[in-house]
C-alpha cells in the first residue's frame, strides 16, 4: 500500500513528450505502456459489489449517520440528513478508503451512496 502511494505522485507528474514515430518509442516509461493495455485496464477496476460494501461501511462509520438508514439508495442530504460539510468529510473518508483523490468537480456530484459507488467502481485508480 505504501509503495503504491509513493508511486502515485510520480505517475501523476510524469511528463511524456509527444514525439514523432521515428524517435525511439521504447524510451517511454514501460509503466505507461502497460496502463494502455486493455487487459491491464480492465483488471484495475474494482468489483462493484465490493465497492458498494466498502462505501456503505464508510458511511455507516460516520458518527452523524444513523446506520439503520443506510442502504444502497440512500441520499446523503434527504435520507441521512447530512449537510455540505458532512458530504465533504465523507468524500475525504472515501478517498482514504480507496486510496485515490476525488477531484473537486466530481466530489460535488457525489451526494448519494449509489453515485459514490458508481464513481469509484468506474475509476481505475481505486484500490
Amino acid at each position: 500500500m505504501a509503495a503504491k502511494s509513493a508511486l502515485q505522485p510520480l505517475l501523476k507528474y510524469l511528463r511524456v513528450p509527444v514525439q514523432p514515430l521515428s524517435q525511439n518509442i521504447f524510451s517511454i516509461s514501460p509503466h505507461l505502456f502497460r496502463r494502455f493495455s486493455t487487459e491491464e485496464v480492465r483488471g484495475c477496476f474494482l468489483d462493484k459489489s465490493e465497492v458498494a460494501d466498502r462505501v456503505i461501511s464508510v458511511v455507516k462509520n460516520f458518527e452523524k449517520v444513523n446506520p439503520s438508514k443506510v442502504n444502497p439508495n440512500a441520499h446523503f442530504q434527504n435520507d441521512l440528513g447530512l449537510d455540505s460539510l458532512d458530504s465533504v468529510e465523507i468524500v475525504m473518508a472515501l478517498e482514504e478508503e480507496f486510496g485515490f483523490e476525488i477531484p473537486d468537480n466530481e466530489a460535488d456530484k457525489i451526494n448519494s451512496i449509489n453515485l459514490a459507488v458508481d464513481f469509484i467502481a468506474s475509476h481505475p485508480q481505486a484500490k
Binding site: 475525504m92 473537486d104 468537480n105
Partner: protein, 328 residues
C-alpha cells in the same frame, strides 16, 4: 393560544371570498424592502416550533413538488427541518409586498443553470415584485434566510460546537489553501482552532453560495478568505488575537493580486451557539477600497405567530464592516 388563533383564521377564511388574499398573506406583517447594501437575515429555531397545527399550516403553503420532496424524506426531524426551511423562504419573501399582499403559496421558484435556487418572478401571481435575492442555510438547530435587493447573496450557518470527524489540519490540507492551513496550524488551543475552522468554513461556503455556481466552479483551495492586515509587516496575527473587528477579504490562492470580483463579508456569532457568514456583492460605485459597511437587520421569526428583531445580546459581529439595524 394557538387554538384561538386557529379559530380566528378559519372564521376569516370562511367569510372571505378571495381565498388567496386571506389565507396566509394577512398573517405576515409587511416589511419594507431591503435598501441597497442592506441584508435582511431571518432565522427560525426548529426546537421552538412544535405545534402540529402550525406545521400543518406551513405544509399548506408549499408547492406540490416541495411537499412531495418532504414526504419522501426519512425521519420526522429531517422532514420538519425541510418543511421549516421552505416555509421560511416563502413567508420571508412574501412579507416584501409592494402594492398588494403576496400569498406565500403563490411564489414560484426555479434553479439557475448551476442549480442555485432563485425566485421565478415571471410566473408568480404578483409580477410587480422587485428583484429580491435570497439564500438559505440550515443546521439542525437554526435555519436562516438572507435577503437582498439587486445583489447576489450567500449565507452559511454552523453550530459552533460542531466537531469534524477528520483531523482539522488534514481537512485543511486537502481542501483549503496553504495560507489558511498555515493560519489554522498556528493555533495551539484545540477549541480555538476548531472555532476558527468553522468560521473559515462558513465564510467560504457563503462565498461559493453567493457566486451561485456550485462547489466545483470555485473549489475551496482556489481562494483564500482572511482578515485584512492579517500579515502586518510580516508578522502573522491569528484572527482570534485581533481585537478590533477585522474586515474580511478574499483573494485568489494562485495570484494574491488577482481580484476575485467585489465581495463583502459579515461574520456573526448568534445566540452564543452558531456562527453565521454572509457574503454579498459590493457596490462598484462606492470604490474598491472596501470600506463601506453592510447594513444588517437580523430578525427572528415563527411564521404566522411572531416576528422580532434579535436582541443585542444575542448577536456579536466578529468579522466584516457591519452596521446592525434595529427593528423596522
Amino acid at each position: 393560544m394557538n387554538l384561538l388563533r386557529g379559530k380566528i383564521s378559519s372564521v376569516m377564511n370562511i367569510n372571505c371570498c378571495r381565498r388567496n388574499l386571506f389565507s396566509a398573506s394577512s398573517r405576515l406583517p409587511a416589511v419594507p424592502l431591503p435598501a441597497k447594501k442592506e441584508v435582511h437575515f431571518w432565522y427560525i429555531l426548529p426546537d421552538e416550533v412544535n405545534s402540529a397545527y402550525l406545521l400543518d399550516q406551513y405544509l399548506e403553503i408549499l408547492s406540490p413538488c416541495e411537499k412531495e420532496n418532504i414526504f419522501r424524506m426519512k425521519g420526522e426531524l429531517l422532514k420538519k427541518r425541510a418543511l421549516l426551511a421552505r416555509t421560511l423562504v416563502r413567508t420571508t419573501l412574501a412579507r416584501y409586498q409592494t402594492n398588494c399582499q403576496i400569498d406565500p403559496k403563490s411564489l414560484k421558484f426555479r434553479k439557475n443553470s448551476y442549480g442555485k435556487p432563485e425566485v421565478d418572478w415571471q410566473y408568480s401571481d404578483d409580477w410587480s415584485l422587485p428583484p429580491l435575492h435570497f439564500n438559505i442555510s440550515h443546521t439542525s438547530s437554526l435555519i436562516a434566510c438572507g435577503v437582498t435587493v439587486d445583489s447576489p447573496i450567500g449565507i452559511d450557518v454552523e453550530d459552533k460546537q460542531r466537531r469534524l470527524k477528520t483531523n482539522i489540519l488534514a481537512f485543511a490540507r486537502r481542501y483549503f489553501t496553504l495560507h489558511e492551513l498555515e493560519m489554522l496550524t498556528g493555533i495551539s488551543d484545540p477549541e480555538t482552532q476548531q472555532h476558527e475552522f468553522i468560521k473559515l468554513w462558513t465564510l467560504k461556503e457563503a462565498y461559493v453560495k453567493a457566486l451561485g455556481k456550485g462547489f466545483s466552479a470555485s473549489p475551496f483551495n482556489t481562494f483564500t478568505v482572511r482578515s485584512r492586515d492579517y500579515n502586518k509587516k510580516g508578522i502573522c496575527h491569528a484572527p482570534h488575537l485581533i481585537s478590533e473587528v477585522p474586515e474580511i477579504i478574499i483573494e485568489s490562492s494562485g495570484d494574491p493580486n488577482k481580484p476575485l470580483g467585489n465581495w463583502k463579508f459579515v461574520l456573526l456569532e448568534l445566540l452564543g451557539s452558531h456562527y453565521a457568514a454572509i457574503c454579498m456583492e459590493q457596490d462598484m460605485i462606492c470604490g474598491g477600497n472596501g470600506r463601506v459597511a453592510i447594513n444588517l437587520s437580523i430578525r427572528k421569526t415563527i411564521p404566522f405567530v411572531e416576528d422580532g428583531c434579535i436582541s443585542e445580546t444575542d448577536v456579536v459581529v466578529i468579522g466584516g464592516l457591519t452596521t446592525l439595524l434595529g427593528s423596522a
